[in-house]
């Protein structure tokens, strides 16, 4: 995919990640966390599943108490239209009802969804074969036409709605249907097509969508997912029942309730009071309270989200590579992880996370070394400079505290003064995504979730010249990323991306901070394993 055409793609993606509310839209469509037909293509480690979630064949097993499961998140949905939102919370709520063609396992590997076979055709298009027996909640069989309509409704503005997910599936040229088959062709080559379809693209029924009003579609659901909607209270709670006709067998849960409390301590209180079973984003200081109770435990997983401090390459003092490296030496990320996050984070050294396509295992983090930092600052000729770190308030786990800690450490260098400016997220994001790089902040904290598990999905928007949030213009890096887009051989592509990561590390456009953990509180009454992509799949939960 040539970078020239990327602008469109990337800018779109921005909205998905940084736009409206909620955490960055990470979760892919789901429904089936179990096995299902294992795909053939490119999914590594897909068999490394925990054995604990044996949801299959749970039908009729509910002899005793009904299995009522509650999930409490930070925020509720923004309407139930699966194709008209761009945030994680909505994705989680809608994802119980709708599914995509492909899916991911707990570790992020690609598995089958509504399509049980998928392949790349000779011309670079992708072909999905729909499974038999998948039906919408209203009883109608899933058809290839529904799939075509769904994809077109997402990517084309003139079909139904202007979807904020329009570019989540790549630059789609056209969708064609065959007998139980759907073929999607792209403009140019799309090396990560399956990654995209495993994360995005929920399928709706054409007739149902066309016959109902927008308000109705946002309050009701007719998907193919493992749960059916029983009660929707906007902004309060959503109640589900198992879809007994689900193609992969009905989930063990008899009644699922999803609700939200914006305060983490409230969520923990609810968990400990046994009012709910799964709570999201338990903050570090609450962890011991959960662990020491006998009703719940902490269950955490490294997420696909990284936190970093962006430094704009075209303004002083950040135009100096030495200065940027100095900043990386000045911040003691280990100590921040230890003290601010109570250890719930992994230090990073490159834009791509361990486990994602293109990760370079040979790069080590910049060591914490204030003296080296001072020396580099001196060398850069910016000694005595005053800088301001802008940070969003309350958007990422402990964001303000992290920014303040980092700024304090920079400030304690003898030759740099650093202050923190707190910004409301939506206004900061407006600046961060300003069309011209000249309008973007000089130095700011940002988080980025990579739902596709592919390094290019971080580096292209954030570090390529044309990226929607870039703070860097470097021909060498641009070249590597362009090459990666056009490379059809996966292994070769990995090599190129690894090289790009090394380059990004050396250029130090960011202060590389950490990889966030998703920290859940889980009731001891249930068994459930979290996923790496922040999606919650209660259909894999079982009663203990």
């Amino acid at each position: 995919m040539p970078t020239d055409n990327d602008t469109h793609v990337d800018r779109r993606t921005v909205l998905k990640y940084a736009g409206t509310a909620g955490a960055v839209g990470l979760a892919g469509c789901s429904g089936n966390g179990g096995d299902g037909g294992d795909g053939s293509d490119g999914s590594d480690g897909s068999d490394g599943m925990d054995g604990s979630d044996g949801s299959d064949g749970s039908d009729g097993s509910d002899g005793g108490d009904a299995f009522e499961l509650g999930v409490t998140m930070g925020q509720m949905d923004s309407g139930l239209d699966p194709q008209d939102h761009a945030e994680t919370n909505t994705e989680i709520i809608v994802g119980q009802l709708y599914e995509g063609l492909l899916d991911r396992d707990k570790q992020g590997g690609i598995i089958a969804g509504l399509a049980n076979e998928w392949e790349r055709t000779d011309d670079g298009s992708v072909r999905f074969t729909l499974r038999d027996g998948a039906a919408f909640h209203n009883g109608d069989e899933l058809t290839a036409e529904d799939v075509r309509f769904s994809i077109r409704r997402i990517v084309f503005e003139d079909v139904g709605i202007v979807s904020p997910q329009a570019n989540d599936l790549g630059v789609v040229d056209e969708v064609t249907t065959g007998d139980g088959e759907v073929t999607v062709s792209f403009e140019g080559y799309n090396p990560i097509a399956f990654q995209l379809f495993a994360t995005n693209g929920e399928i709706v029924q054409q007739s149902w969508v066309e016959e109902n009003s927008g308000d109705y579609i946002n309050r009701n659901a007719n998907g193919t997912g493992p749960f059916r909607l029983t009660n929707y209270e906007s902004g309060n709670q959503v109640v589900y029942e198992p879809n007994e006709e689900y193609w992969d067998g009905a989930p063990a849960v008899d009644e699922l309730t999803m609700s939200a409390s914006s305060e983490s301590s409230t969520r923990v209180n609810q968990l400990l009071a046994e009012e709910t079973d799964i709570v999201t984003n338990v903050p570090p200081n609450e962890v011991s309270r959960v662990n020491s109770s006998d009703v719940a435990t902490i269950n955490s997983v490294a997420s696909a989200r990284i936190i970093f401090l962006q430094m704009r390459y075209d303004v002083e003092p950040f135009s100096s590579q030495q200065f940027r490296q100095a900043m990386n030496h000045a911040v003691d990320v280990e100590s921040i992880i230890e003290n601010v996050l109570n250890g719930f984070g992994n230090i990073t050294a490159q834009p791509t996370l361990d486990g994602h396509v293109g990760y370079n295992p040979d790069i080590d983090p910049y060591p914490y070394d204030p003296e080296e930092a001072e020396r580099l600052v001196e060398e850069s000729g910016h000694a005595g400079v005053e800088i301001t770190l802008e940070t969003p308030i309350g958007r990422y786990l402990r964001d303000v505290e992290i920014a303040q800690a980092a700024a304090n450490q920079i400030n304690s260098l003898s030759n740099v003064t650093c202050e923190v400016e707190q910004r409301e997220f939506s206004s900061l994001v407006q600046d961060v995504t300003a069309p011209n790089i000249e309008d973007r902040p000089h130095f700011n904290l940002l988080g980025w979730g990579n739902g596709e598990f592919d390094g290019s999905q971080t580096m292209t928007p954030l570090l390529s010249s044309s990226g929607a949030l870039t703070v860097l213009e470097n021909d060498e890096l641009d070249g590597l990323l362009t090459d990666a887009e056009a490379t059809e051989d996966p292994d070769e592509r990995v090599d190129i991306l690894q090289e790009a990561n090394q380059l990004a590390h050396d250029l130090a456009p960011w202060v590389f901070m950490h990889q966030q953990f998703s920290v859940y509180g889980v009731s001891s009454d249930i068994s459930w394993e979290p996923r790496a992509d922040e999606f919650i799949d209660p259909d894999t939960a079982t009663q203990q």
């Binding site: 503005e157 202007v162 946002n218 309050r219 902004g235 914006s262 209180n269 009071a273 939506s426």
Partner: protein, 330 residues
């Protein structure tokens, strides 16, 4: 002027104010930087897309047409569709309104039931320990931020003693009423309802309890020093009758007016109390809508809040006129 005419005149004035409220809310959009299209359109949307969206939302029309359309729709109960949720704002707002009303009413009940006797006792036992106690309590009450009080209540009752629920609404008060009406065993639902509403109601009600106590106390002191009280004593009326039938009644008339004006504070307090206790009311919707720039939802919420305020104040004035016939003649 007859009572009926007074009520009518007041209602007509109220309609004017509601119209003003609608206009101000509508105008708010135009004194805010940035186009409302930004809330809907993807950041990189092409000029054509933006125009298409503007046309879809009617934003391409001249201002007065948009305004006319908005008022016209509003008169038919249509407040548009949420930019973010895609749902009808009318439904959205009226789904949330009952929770807020329930909370505000519960808080008022807590406040009134405690404050009036406290104010009366304080006034009739002036400078006795109970008066000092009530004075300090009410002073603390009007000086405590309700969100902080809420957090402290959570700390004490929910965390230390684990007696009440700390967030959410539990059951709808309507369900409780329904089970009472249907003669079902309702103790369970009632207890659940209480477990959820008690702390938020106290957190929100304390300020008003303190305010009403102060107003009742000073009003009672004022009334008890008036000529008619002396006259009533001279004609041999028993003390209870003088206090409750004569003095308290006259005290409460101005108290009701002040409370009507303070309804705004009550709703404002409800917004923040909802945030503390995750109460799914209108306040939560307002804050979400602001953060998401969801104009239709924000406008709808503000109009409903403003209109409720106006309605309640008309009601207060009419009740006032009913209690104190002099008002009608003024």
């Amino acid at each position: 002027m007859s009572f009926g005419r007074f009520a009518l005149k007041r209602s007509l004035q109220g309609i004017g104010v509601v119209w003003g409220v609608v206009t101000v809310v509508f105008a708010l959009r135009f004194v805010t930087p940035g186009s409302p299209i930004n809330a809907v359109a993807p950041l990189d949307a092409s000029q054509e897309t933006r125009q298409a969206i503007a046309a879809e939302l009617g934003l391409d029309q001249p201002l007065y047409v948009q305004y006319g359309q908005y008022v016209f729709d509003l008169l038919q109960g249509d407040m548009g569709r949420s930019y973010i949720r895609g749902q009808e704002v009318t439904t959205l707002v009226f789904e949330r309104l009952p929770a807020t009303v329930e909370l505000a009413l519960a808080a008022s009940v807590v406040a009134i039931v405690l404050a009036i006797p406290l104010g009366v006792i304080s006034a009739t036992r002036r400078n006795e320990p109970v008066d000092y106690g009530a004075t300090l309590l009410s002073l603390g009450g009007i000086s405590t931020p309700n969100f902080w009080l809420g957090i402290m209540l959570i700390l004490i009752f929910a965390v230390e003693f684990n007696v009440f629920n700390t967030s959410g609404r539990g059951v709808d008060v309507g369900d409780v009423a329904l089970s009472v009406i249907n003669a079902e065993p309702f103790a369970g639902t009632l207890l659940t309802w209480l477990a959820y509403i008690t702390l938020p109601a106290i957190a929100l009600g304390t300020y008003f309890m303190a305010l009403i106590t102060r107003l009742t106390r000073s009003g009672m002191l004022d009334e008890l020093s008036k000529g008619y009280v002396q006259a009533a004593r001279a004609k041999g009326l028993p003390r209870t009758l003088i206090r409750y039938k004569h003095a308290l009644r006259n005290t409460l008339i101005p108290v009701i007016t002040v409370l009507g004006l303070q309804l705004g504070t009550l709703i404002g307090g409800a917004v923040i109390t909802e945030a503390v206790f995750s109460w799914p009311g209108l306040g939560t919707l307002v804050i979400e809508s602001i953060n998401q720039r969801d104009w239709p939802a924000l406008q709808g919420s503000l109009i409903v809040i403003g209109t409720s305020f106006v309605l309640v104040n008309i009601l207060v004035d009419v009740v006032y006129a009913y209690l104190d016939p002099e008002v009608v003649n003024d």
